[in-house]
Amino acid sequence: MSSFSLLVTSAPFSEQNAYSAYRFALAAVQAKHTVNGIFFYQSGTLNGSSLQLTPSNEFDLYAAWKTLASDHKVPLMVCVSAASKRGITTAEDAHDSDNPHYSLTAPFESVGLGELAVLMKNSDRLVQF
């Protein structure tokens, strides 16, 4: 079987791209391929916000990402620099900026772009959404 990395650069809900990436990742793991990781960059980092309150009549993409991560051990990596300028911040960011609040929690991880380089090195295909 083969291995993928996905690069998600679009915001959830406002555009379909992030949802399409989720469907692709799900189809890949169901076909017994390995998804080495999903890397969120640019507006894609907004997928990592734990504060999203999805209306009950809409698809909850945040919950779907979390289920994908736990069921199939797919790492969800959020680019720290792209995220923090968009208000996607970790407990550590909150501490450093004296803000009691933050929005990024597990299973989403805050990482540097170097992690993407590692993902790509070990993947047969990179697909961007």
């Binding site: 083969s2 993928f4 379909q16 791209n17 399409s20 469907r23 692709f24 799900l26 189809a27 890949a28 169901q30 076909a31 391929h33 047969d124 295909r125 990179l126 697909v127 961007q128 959404f129």
Partner: protein
């Protein structure tokens, strides 16, 4: 051997035209999201028909929008989309 993934409507932007201008001989084109409306765009549809066997349509996105396959377009679902990335050497997203 590049798979060109398109996501936007050719009635709205010029992505598809820019992609088709730069298509390699053994490349393929995958229509996803609003790019499925290419099949009701007269000029683009003719260009795609000339690429017999190299144009793929993502079924879920086409069905959602009420667009039917025509010409020589091959219909695939997400599972087929995953496999398609291995029939080509890499994927370029427009």
């Amino acid at each position: 051997m590049i798979l060109h993934k398109l996501t936007t409507s050719p009635f709205r932007d010029l992505n598809m035209q820019h992609c088709l201008q730069r298509l390699g001989e053994s490349d393929g084109v995958l229509l996803t999201q609003d790019a499925v409306y290419a099949l009701i765009h007269q000029d683009i549809r003719e260009k795609l028909n000339a690429l017999s066997g190299k144009v793929f349509l993502l079924e879920e996105d086409a069905d959602a929008r009420g667009i039917e396959a025509n010409g020589n377009v091959e219909i695939i679902d997400y599972e087929g989309f995953v496999e398609l990335t291995f029939k080509f050497n890499k994927v370029v997203s427009w």
